[in-house]
């Protein structure tokens, strides 16, 4: 198939869309392989290739991400752009490709953005404080299967930032809530649960991400299908923590 691509090119502060023709695209190619082929052509023509972040190309590292025709990671639900294949596009189609757009993710070049704010949110509390060697025997901590499954549902977050890119408020709440939910469903995560909610949500605000007002766009684009019910859980923890419930905030019982 042949496609017309409008790709955001940016070097320095200002960028613009540039039109390219992608010819003889195989339906079995991934979207990124289609860009690889375009880039090879550009290099041989003496132009700079389109820069985009990517690494594992298996949909698990969370490095890649671009907005395709207005949708983060493109049209296929539950799929990162590296796992999106060209069979989901039509011959002759015009495609618009942009980087994540959010105050929290400054553009570095072309489609590459700086997502390090997500690391800083994790640093503020997205962990269980246990030093190497302090662990109890694993068999001593039974976890109900249903809790373990719900925890795992949330733990699948790959930190790609699509939730932020899709949100009219530029909120990182789905990312934050996924971590709060992952750890909050486990007995090991209880001692720091309340403080974690306060710290992470506060930090997200400091990093320039907006608040959540339940647009639910994030859930629609999340390549790991993380549910916005995690946000309800995170808000509940946050509010209860703000009223002084839970360990570390004066000790009112949960």
């Amino acid at each position: 198939m042949n496609l017309t691509l409008n790709i955001w090119r940016q070097k320095g502060k200002i960028g613009k869309f540039v039109k390219y023709q992608a010819k003889d695209v195989s339906e079995h190619m991934s979207f990124l392989e289609m860009l690889d082929v375009l880039n090879q052509e550009l290099i041989l023509k003496g132009e700079e290739p389109v820069h985009f972040d990517h690494d594992c190309r298996e949909g698990i590292c969370g490095t890649c991400g671009m907005v395709i025709n207005g949708l983060p990671h493109g049209p296929l639900k539950g799929t990162t752009v590296c796992q999106l294949h060209m069979r989901h596009f039509k011959d002759g189609q015009e495609i618009w490709i942009e980087p994540w757009r959010s105050r929290g993710f400054p553009i570095l070049k072309d489609l590459m953005t700086d997502k390090s704010a997500l690391d800083r949110i994790i640093q503020s509390g997205g962990f269980i404080t246990v030093r190497t060697g302090q662990a109890a025997k694993a068999e001593a901590i039974p976890v109900p299967k249903s809790d373990a499954e719900l925890s795992m549902d949330a733990a699948e977050c790959i930190g790609c930032g699509a939730c932020v890119a899709s949100c009219p408020n530029g909120s990182a709440m789905l990312f934050v809530a996924a971590k709060i939910t992952h750890l909050g469903f486990l007995p090991q995560g209880q001692p720091e649960r309340m403080q974690r909610a306060i710290n992470m949500i506060t930090k997200a605000e400091e990093e320039g991400f907006g608040f959540c007002s339940n647009y639910a766009e994030c859930e629609a684009v999340c390549p790991k299908n993380i549910s916005i019910s995690t946000i309800a859980r995170a808000n509940r923890d946050f509010i209860r923590a703000s009223f002084g419930y839970g360990a570390g905030k004066g000790g009112k019982a949960l």
């Binding site: 109890a136 025997k137 795992m152 469903f185």
Partner: protein
Amino acid sequence: MLKLDSRIPSGPIEGKWSKRLQEVALVSPANKRKLSIIVVGTGLAGASAAASLSELGYKVSVFTYNDSARRAHSIAAQGGINAAKNYQNDNDSVYRLFYETVKGGDFRAREANVYRLAELSNVIIDQCVAQGVPFAREYGGQLANRSFGGALVSRTFYARGQTGQQLLLGAYSALMKEVGRGSCQIHNRMEMIDLVVVDGRARGIITRDLVTGQIESHVADAVLLCTGGYANVFFLSTNAKHCNATAIWRAYKRGAGFANPCFTQIHPTCIPQAGDYQSKLTLMSESLRNDGRIWVPKAVGDERNAVDIPDNERDYYLERIYPAFGNLAPRDISSRAAKRMCDEGRGVGPGKRGVYLDFSDSIARLGRNVIEERYGNLFEMYNRITGEDPYSSPMRIYPAPHYTMGGLWVDYDLMSNIPGLFVLGEANFSDHGANRLGASALMQGLADGYFVIPNTIGDYFANTRLSPVDANHEEFKAAANQAHVFIDKLLSINGSRTVDQYHRDLGMTMLEHCGMSRTKESLTTAMKTVGELRERFWQDVKVSGEACDINQELEKAVRVADYFELAELVCRDALEREESCGGHFRLEHQTPEGETLRDDENFAHVAVWEHQEQGPAIRNVEPLVFETVKLAQRSYK
């Protein structure tokens, strides 16, 4: 010649690690604060090491080429992590895990290291659970297990098909906790491009900032390389696109011994290549072999759809040839069997390079929902990539380069022959011999990072007086200068072919001549072709862009330049190892049934290559001493 003292403690194998722990000298908390450590790489080994060392009080700086520590390729490991917990009461034990790992590696691993690995496997699970890794659970709330290739017990712990992701996020969260505390510094998007050795000791690294292009010097009292393997030398592999060998290769060129480079693993269950544009191959977890049956049509050239071929016209060749292990035969054996079937003309799918992995029997026996719960995300991934539905027709799979058992030589303390340079995880050579069993890489990465290095590195510091060094030292200046020259040279060639074109050619050559089977002729051809390609690369490669900017082509060019050199060493090592063992299969050395034929008399050793500024590398030898295990022909029949 290299001085290769493996420093394996004496005494019975069960007591070696505890003996070493008692012997190592300690560093006082006050002194730890003054000692700085550079950790390169943030996969399981790097992240766990950096977090643990920072907790101990050392000044730790971490470097990753990724935009975040959480992206390292450990994240893509699917199947699981082994531990000898014996939760299944199926007679598992530390000894059994140890023995199976040594046997799985075809008796080319260091016995004492493997025993330690098996011994530490249980505390790794404890540590990960404490961090909040959501392992799969049974209905009673206890941890679940599954079986894996090369083992007759169920000892693999897993988190759906994303075990690597969850373990890495555990180690990453520990690392982020330390960064948040301010005791550990992290440098994202920074690639190590050289090691700096001062007075014979590793004292720092040279990096390229992948955003600004700046070449920087970083000084430390010890350097840890946790930079993974080199399977991308084959171009198409299951590794992430940016996984590279530059850190270990530059360390090799600064004097570190490179051990067993020819021990590379071709994983049996990957999605077959679809076209020439293909950028990488995707692994389908080995755990699928628990419930999937592998087969090809009995007849050559059978063009029918899989579902139309009746059972009696299918050859379940693994079950036929290896009845004891069946579909769970080790990786090297399964891969070669698949290749043999395709070579016989019984391959399936486009290009006939594929075999079926069929779940219909398991779906009939267990129900679709059970299969969905166990492998749902893998089935989805297969469907996304191929557009086919593996619930209704079998998957097609084919072997692909996956893991490299070879790596930098280290002693029992994980220190290379350059004092102060430690190597952890896949980047070192020590634990998997000539073939790695499934679910052992995660185990090794975390054992090295959480439990070995925090104990052994102190011994180096306590017994070493380090002179003060800063970035103005002439060795740092010289190395930084070399880096500039190297990069300028790559950018100035402005030839006619792209980096990817050269990389692809290199990979094709390696896969064809130094892949699943090797001969003297193929290896000689490979060395000649690789040498010619390398020369052409340096005269004709076209690298776009500038040095002082984000430049992904330049990043690739630096890595590929190193792959060319490494590829030659891989071939040479394969040529000189006149035996077959594990993943290294020399057609000249096989049993009448077509299995590997070892030569224990002449090759029960580690080949350690020593770089020479002029002339070919020198082959050193560390004899493998087996005090506990009796060498035997590997049998999975």
